[in-house]
Every structure is written in C-alpha cells, then in structure tokens.
C-alpha cells in the first residue's frame, strides 16, 4: 500500500523537482540518502519500513527517469488530462450540510459536536530515536 503511495507521491513530485536524481547521486546510480528518506517520511507521513522499501523507491525513480528520453523542448506542459474539459460552475445555492450526526459517526472521539484531535502537530521522532527498519 505504501509503495503505491510512494509512487503516486513521487510522480507528481517529479514535475517540481527535476533535479532530484542528480541531487541524490550525480553519477546517476540512483541512491536515495537517509536524509531524503527522513524528509519524505515527515512530509508525507509514509513509513519506509525496510531497506527493500528504499530500494523500491530507487527503482521507481529510475523507471520514471526514462521520461527524460523524450525531447520536450518548446512543448507546453500539460496541466491536466482534463485540460480541454469545461470547468462546471455551480450556482451559489445552499444545498448541503446539516448532517452533523452522520459526520461524527465515524469519529473516534467526540466532545459535544466537535471532532477531537491531539493538541497541535505531533512531531515525528528523529531518525536516531527511531528504530531504523522496524516492521509495523
């Protein structure tokens, strides 16, 4: 499951961080540093639980890198496969809402009619504090 999440996250990412592979390894051997892994885990809340997971990420990057074989010089990037569709405009009427009971049904904890969340953001433990490759 997380491998797919990684791949999806990665694809959209590629567009914005073209220099990624060169950042990890200028020679192009495709190694991803522990620093980058930690950064990714923090950003996307995915867990690279094992060395295999990291290897899979590296393979995925190498696979996607083949896109570079295509010469896109002077070609406008496609923003969306929907780019020639019409963006539907909705009238400004109130047609939904008023379903607080249904919404709270799946909430783990509720106080009056509020969802309950932990205070602020819980920071991830640092790399050295974590057990490096523990399986969930």
């Amino acid at each position: 499951m997380w491998a797919r999440a990684v791949l999806l996250g990665h694809r959209s990412w590629m567009g914005w961080h073209r220099g990624f592979t060169s950042k990890t390894d200028p020679q192009g051997s495709g190694r991803v540093t522990a620093e980058v892994i930690e950064h990714l885990e923090r950003l996307a809340l995915v867990d690279f639980g094992s060395q295999e997971a990291v290897a899979r990420l590296e393979k995925a990057i190498a696979f996607a890198d083949r896109l570079r074989a295509v010469d896109t010089e002077g070609v406008e990037p496609m923003e969306s496969v929907l780019e020639d569709r019409c963006l539907y405009l909705r009238s400004d009427n109130v047609v939904e809402g008023n379903c607080v009971e249904e919404l709270l049904q799946n909430a783990h904890r509720v106080v009056e009619e509020y969802f309950v969340a932990p205070p602020g953001n819980i920071s991830l433990p640092k790399q050295d504090e974590q057990q490096p490759f523990s399986h969930n």
């Binding site: 923003e79 405009l89 909705r90 400004d92 009619e113 509020y114 205070p119």
Partner: protein, 512 residues
C-alpha cells in the same frame, strides 16, 4: 520609492490613523474628523513617519523597513467555494459541513460561480490583469483543521495579477496635504479556508469545527512597497472599504472575514534587503500597525546588537504587545504543490472571445462584470469633493463610518444649510454624539431629518449653535422629545422671534 528613514533606536512616530476599528459595525474609539482647531482624533489616513532627533549610541544609523502583506478575505457568498454547504458565522459546530468539506472519500470539488465573479470584480477594482486561464493547485500540509491534508489554492497561475491599491497619506505639519501612495498587488487567488481549532490545554486536546472549512477566500498579495505599520494599516483599511463597496467580502476583521499576514524586513538604504520574518494572523485592525512596528523595531534592535534575523514565522501576542516565534514550524515548510487533478483550468471570457451559443450560466464575461462594477470609495470621495466642495480629509472621514455617508447625504437633501456647515456638524458634533453613547449611525436617535431641521433653524439664525447642540444632547437622545421641541420652536417662530424667547423656551423644556 522614498522610504522614510528611521533613526537609531527610536522609530519615527507615526500618527495614529486609519480609524482602524471602523470595520466593525460600531466604530468604537475616538471621534474621527478634523477640526480646524487641529483636534487630533483617530482618522483614516496615514501620516508619514517623523524623523526623531535622537541619535543612537553608535552614531547615525539609518534604517528602512520593508513591509509586504498577504491578506485573506472571506468571500461573501451563500455557499462554499467547492461545495454547497452554507457560509455563515456562528452556527452549531459542524452543522454547515458537507461530505466534501469533511474530506470523506469519493467527494469532488465543484466550483462556485459567485466566488469566481467575486474574484474578477476584486481584480478589476484593483487594476489587475485578469488571467483568462487560471489553474488550481494543492498545497499540502498536515493539521487537524485541514481534513484533506491539502488546501486547494492557485499557486501557479492565479486569477488576477499585477494590480495596484492607492491609499492616502497626510503630509505636512497641519495634515492639509493629502498625497496618494500606491502599493502594487502581486496577485489575487481563490483558495479554501480551513476549519477552526479550539485548543483545550487542560485536557491536552484540540476541538475541531469544520464549519469554516472550504469557505472561499480571496488571497490578495501586496508587494513590499510599504514602510511602516501605519502605511500597512491604511492600505488594509482602503482594501476593506473597496471589498465592502464591491460586496465581494464584508471584510470584518472582528469576525475573521479579513486576516492579514505581514512580511517584514529592515535594511540600510542602498544595501540589499534584509532577512524577512513573517508575522501571522494579525486579525485585529487596532493592533495591525502596532504589531508591524514592534517587529520592525525588534529587528533593528537585534541587528544593532550584532545578532542575526532568522527567517521565521512569528505571531503577535496581543497581551504582551510583542511578536513571538510560532511553535510547530520546524524549518522551512515544503508544501509539495501539485496541480489539482480534479479541476480543469478555469477559463474566463470577454465579449470578443465569448463562444457563440454558450450557456450563460457556464461562462463568465469579464467585460460584463467590469460594466457592472459599483462605485469605488475613491470615486465616491472625489464626487463629494467636486459636488460639495468639502476637503479631501473630510471625504475620507465620511466614508470611514458605516452609514455615515448616507446620513450626510440625507441631511444635505433636506437642509438649505451650506455643505461645509453640514460636514462640520456631521463629522464633529453628530459623530462625537454617537461615539459618546457608543452607537452606530443606524442606531442614532437623531435622524437626518431632525439634524436637517436643526441646521435649517441655525441657518435662519433662529436658534444659536449652542442651543442646537443642546437639543441634540438632551433627554438622552429621545427622538420624540427632540421632535416635540423642534415643533414647539417652529410654532413659536412662525415669524422671526426674539432669540431670548427661544432660549427660554428651550431651557424650560430641557430642564423638565
């Protein structure tokens, strides 16, 4: 652009301005308006910062501050930006939330036409170039009040760019000269608001209300063309008035409909810009200028003590009156912007490019919107000056209070007194009367007709100025009593009567 010089430790004192809390219904605070005696009340225009005579210990150091703003205005619409749930302040928690707002799987965003129109109107009013094609993106970060884990915004290609906002600054010793300053608008974009977090320190938990999640926002980005808190506050005030005139946002800071973040840095003129800090969530008009000036001074102090400024995010502590670093911001945020895959590009048209036979509900014509733009505050002020010959600063004051302009115009209609007289009465005596009793214009027991009558009597020299003031003031502003009094006076003075007689009558009535 001439940036004011700030010497050494002491920030040039900017005169308190921009009747800053007039965004709220009751313009509480000191009376606005200028009198020829130079009475300094809170007003609407910024003063340029004064140079102080003080020299710093190290000799003369000139600092210039650079202030940019990111302003979020809640769009005045019935439903939210991408869903059909209601937009309303103060409702039972989570009652105005649709499945999309709660980010339940399987839901998709559907763009609200009214929000797009509001963005175009605002862009046009601020002299922006409207992008005929704009795009939506996802900005990712984790927080409990952002159920999707991302906010839909317009980072790459927003709906409007490259505009300007003009605001007025008083110069000179007697504030007579009003000069116009401009701040460039980098862009205006449509984006979603997040829900509200209520922190419960005691039980170590946060309560989440998603009523606000998904409400449409206009983010207006102002370039760092401002140089002190007062300029920033005045620009914000003018933007508030424009949004209210357009009807695109009620822009009430007290109700969270207008929120401001400031980007502040200091440098020596001629040298490169300094490191900037971001001061977030300046949600009070009253404290906006103060917070910015505090941060400017803090940075100057730090640099003069040989310390460095960190590129960090801070928030303003209203109780302590200072900016403090915000927790939860570890290093620079990486928002992982990506195109919103569920929304095609937003296309806008003008009369020339409008596709034939298009469904009018589904297309937005920029030209049509431009034609229907209401009168902007700057135009209204200009008209007042032209029509009634009043001073520019008075035209500002008339627009600075909700309902005051209408009141003024109604009085003018019914009275033969000179506009300058009416202006003086409305801005000084009437407004002062309201402030004393903490009333809004629409709560005034003194109606335009009553004031018009009073001014007529004054004009005909039937009653004295002092008597007129007394009438307004008397009997805790009971309107019936005032009318009765006026009626009495008129009856008695069918022909011009002896002023002492009038005075007696009035005094008798007033004392009873």
């Amino acid at each position: 652009m001439a940036a004011p010089m700030l010497r050494g430790r002491c920030l040039g004192r900017c005169w308190a301005l921009a009747c800053i809390d007039s965004g709220s219904r009751h313009g509480r605070g000191a009376a606005t308006g200028f009198t020829s005696s130079g009475k300094r009340g809170q007003s609407f225009v910024a003063q340029q910062p004064l140079l102080t005579a003080q020299k710093s210990r190290k000799g003369e150091h000139k600092w210039a501050a650079v202030v940019g703003l990111e302003i979020h205005a809640q769009i005045a619409s019935n439903s939210k930006l991408f869903s059909g749930s209601q937009v309303h302040f103060a409702a039972p928690p989570n009652s105005l939330v649709s499945f999309f707002d709660a980010s339940l799987p399987g839901t998709l965003p559907v763009l609200n036409r009214r929000c797009v129109e509001a963005a175009v109107m605002t862009g046009l009013a601020l002299n922006c170039h409207i992008n005929k094609k704009s795009l939506f993106d996802r900005k990712h970060y984790f927080y409990a009040d952002l159920p999707a884990g991302y906010q839909i915004t317009q980072q790459r290609l927003p709906i409007a760019v490259n505009g300007s906002l003009a605001y007025s600054v008083c110069v000179g010793k007697k504030w007579r000269q009003v000069i116009t300053k401009t701040v460039r608008i980098k862009q205006i974009q449509l984006e979603q608001d997040s829900g509200k977090s209520l922190h419960d320190e005691l039980r170590s938990q946060t309560l989440i209300d998603l009523n606000r999640a998904g409400v449409g926002l206009l983010e207006v980005v102002l370039e760092p063309d401002m140089s002190c808190g007062e300029e920033a506050a005045t620009a914000v005030r003018e933007l508030q008035l424009i949004l209210q005139a357009l009807g695109t946002s009620q822009a009430n800071m007290a109700e969270g409909q207008l929120r401001v973040d400031a980007n502040i840095s200091v440098h020596h003129p001629g040298e490169p810009l300094g490191v900037r800090t971001e001061v977030k969530n300046l949600n009070s008009a009253r404290f906006l200028a103060r917070a910015i000036d505090y941060e400017i001074q803090r940075q100057i102090n730090e640099l003069e003590n040989g310390c460095e400024i960190l590129n960090e995010t801070r928030s303003f502590d209203y109780k302590l009156g200072c900016t403090v670093p915000m927790r939860d911001k570890e290093g620079k945020q990486d928002y992982r912007f990506m195109p919103e895959p569920n929304l095609p590009p937003l296309l806008l048209y003008d009369t020339a490019s409008l596709p034939a036979g298009a469904d009018p509900q589904q297309v937005i014509n920029i030209d049509r919107i431009r034609e229907q733009l209401p009168e902007l505050p700057s135009e209204t002020r200009e008209k007042l000056i032209q029509q009634y010959g009043i001073l520019p600063e008075h035209s500002f004051a008339l627009l600075n209070e909700v309902g005051l302009l209408e009141f003024f115009q109604n009085v003018i209609k019914e009275t033969r007194a000179e506009p300058k007289k009416v202006t003086s009465w409305v801005l000084n005596i009437f407004l002062g009367f309201l402030k004393q009793r903490n009333l809004a214009v629409n709560e005034s027991p003194v109606t335009p007709s009553v004031l018009a009558e009073l001014l007529n009597l004054l004009d005909r020299k039937v009653i004295s100025s002092a008597a007129a003031k007394q009438v307004m003031d008397m009997k805790r502003g009971n309107p019936r009593a005032i009318n009765k009094l006026i009626g009495l006076v008129r009856k008695v003075t069918h022909n011009r009567a002896d002023p002492t007689v009038i005075k007696e009558i009035l005094e008798k009535q007033l004392s009873s």
